[in-house]
């Protein structure tokens, strides 16, 4: 099965980041047409009909989100692009930002038109140096060429986009933390409800979508809802997903495939399997937040249905581990990540994340006890009551690994696996 290029249609073309190339490929034509001749409600209806769902990992129906924002009489409304991509194993947004920035900008213009927003914010993580440069450049040329501004694309519709740089905080990918950050505050999350559709940026109704989601809007307009539905593998899975492969894999990289491809196809067909002919031990389908799957679970579909394996698809950042990997060590890596990235705002997450790290260190050093294994479960249970998604997910890779590879944890405790020297952190 060949890759299907929808989101990544321009990636790899020479100078794909320039307006000239984007326009030569038909860029901004859909936005121009819709802004001139389409009713905003018709545009929202088309997204609903196509079945587009948010590609940031929550898979919330995009058209419905827009409808909720449009239905709130409170103005001004805003649109936001979430480009804070920080989930370990995930780098698909970075390619769009670096190689095809006009692609998501066109989607943002269409979203703004759909909900009658006249200001949008683009939030990009601070570490993405080249991405930030390219988006700055793209915005500059958009204003020079009349794509943005008072008379966007010559249609009389006003839309301004503002770029905001993050500065090193995973939590800012959480939508309400992102709003705080782009308002110039510490990136702590806000209580939900109210949800962003009613209370987002500046507490106003806000559409916030992932960069990848925005890249699907214009193609749906161009090719129709039915075309988009058929790209996926069934009614619940419309469109493609840009999966990322990393870890022990022969061909790490991006693969845009029908949403719902199996992990087996992704890893062994597209990624060409594991280097050195080694066996697969496990894989994480959606970054650090996703629980590990075993080699026996390879036929899981890479879509929302993967939840039945006690994991999440999340960002689709698939990390592959060969037979030499210590699952306890991999869980420790995830725990370290969440310890570092907990924002410290609520106690279950602030205290739970370092507790998991300490216990896993103990186990890896050969000093763990069987009671420690139960303690990991208990701490996880407390962390489930964290204030936001970060803490609510942070324990799952650890507890998930424990449940699926308990024997390996117990072998460490019994001293059957030599104590690891836990590397410098």
């Amino acid at each position: 099965m060949p890759e299907i290029r929808v989101v990544n249609r321009n990636i790899g073309k020479k100078d794909s980041h320039t307006l000239k190339v984007f326009r030569a490929e038909g860029g901004y034509e859909q936005a121009k047409r819709a802004l001139k001749s389409m009713d905003p409600e018709e545009l929202i209806g088309l997204m609903e009909e196509a079945g587009l769902k948010g590609r940031g990992g929550a898979f919330f129906p995009t058209g419905f989100k827009w409808k909720l924002v449009r239905g709130d009489p409170n103005t001004p409304r805003y649109v936001v692009a979430n480009g804070d991509e920080s989930e370990p194993g995930t780098f698909c947004n970075r390619y769009i930002l670096e190689e095809d920035p006009h692609n998501f900008i066109e989607g943002m213009i269409l979203a703004a038109y759909a909900v009658e927003a006249h200001t949008g914010y683009i939030y990009i993580r601070g570490e993405y140096g080249l991405a930030i440069e390219r988006v700055q450049e793209a915005l500059k040329v958009c204003y020079e060429e009349g794509v943005l501004g008072e008379n966007a694309l010559g249609t009389g519709f006003k839309v301004d986009l503002i770029l905001r740089r993050g500065a090193g905080a995973y939590i800012c990918g959480e939508e309400t933390a992102l709003f705080n950050s782009l308002e110039g505050k510490r990136g702590n999350p806000r209580f939900k409800p109210p949800f962003p559709t009613n209370s987002g940026v500046w507490r106003k109704p806000t559409v916030i979508n992932n960069i990848e989601t925005y890249c699907n809007i214009a193609p749906i307009l161009e090719n129709g809802a039915e075309w988009f539905q058929q790209l996926g593998d069934g009614e619940d899975n419309a469109g493609t997903k840009v999966y990322c492969l990393s870890g022990h894999i022969n061909k790490p990289g991006l693969y845009e495939l029908p949403l719902g491809v199996t992990a087996r196809e992704l890893i062994f067909e597209y990624g060409e399997g594991i280097p050195g002919g080694k066996a697969l031990k496990g894989f994480k389908p959606g970054g650090a937040s996703a629980g590990v799957l075993t080699a026996e679970e390879l036929d899981a579909k890479m879509d929302a249905s993967i939840g039945q394996y006690n994991t999440i698809l999340g960002t689709g950042g698939c990390i592959v581990m060969d037979e030499t990997v210590s699952i306890v060590d991999s869980a420790y890596r995830d725990a370290l990540f969440f310890e570092e990235e907990s924002c410290g705002f609520c106690i279950p997450c602030r205290e739970g994340t370092p507790n998991l790290v300490q216990i896993l260190e103990r186990i890896l050093h050969g000093q763990g006890t069987m009671a420690d294994l139960d303690l990991l479960e208990d701490i996880g249970e407390s962390m489930a009551g964290s204030f936001c998604g970060l803490g609510q997910f942070a324990y799952r890779p650890v507890v998930g690994a424990l449940r699926k590879y308990r024997e390996e944890f117990e072998a460490y405790v019994r001293g059957e696996i030599p104590a690891s020297i836990v590397g410098s952190q």
Partner: protein
Amino acid sequence: MAQPIHAPNQENVGADDADSNVNRLREQLQPLKEDPGSVMEAIYAAQEIFGFVTPEAIEVIAEELGYPEAHVYGVVTFYTMFYTDDQPPYILRVCRDLSCHLAGAEAVAGAIEKKLNIHPGETSEDGLFKLELVSCLGQCEKQPAMLVNLDSRAEMTAGKAVDLINELKTGTE
């Protein structure tokens, strides 16, 4: 070649230069007054001018943008890429998360530690380099990945890390 985030030898900056830095910052903050919530952009501007976010810079940002100093300080200390003390020209950010870890990030960090005789978070004796072990940089297809300031380097090895340091050193001589 990665650009240094600021010129080395900041300690030799004279009083006149310090004044002109404050004036430069004030100038750069003027357009931000029209953009509500642009505190982080202001902090970036300060960091580019002073090399780090000085107490004086916090005062100026607070005054110009109309926030309490505590608010600005709170924002500065929340984010890992804002610094309240002087930084060397090259920050070596090595990813420590799972994909890069599986691909051998520890050997890369270890080689840098040995070459520069520092631990993570420390600055080398020559004042040129700092090593940071950081969360996923979103460069996982280049595993193990690192950044020199914001410049990404792919498929690092211990040997490539040593070469990189030598190359950067030569560039600053």
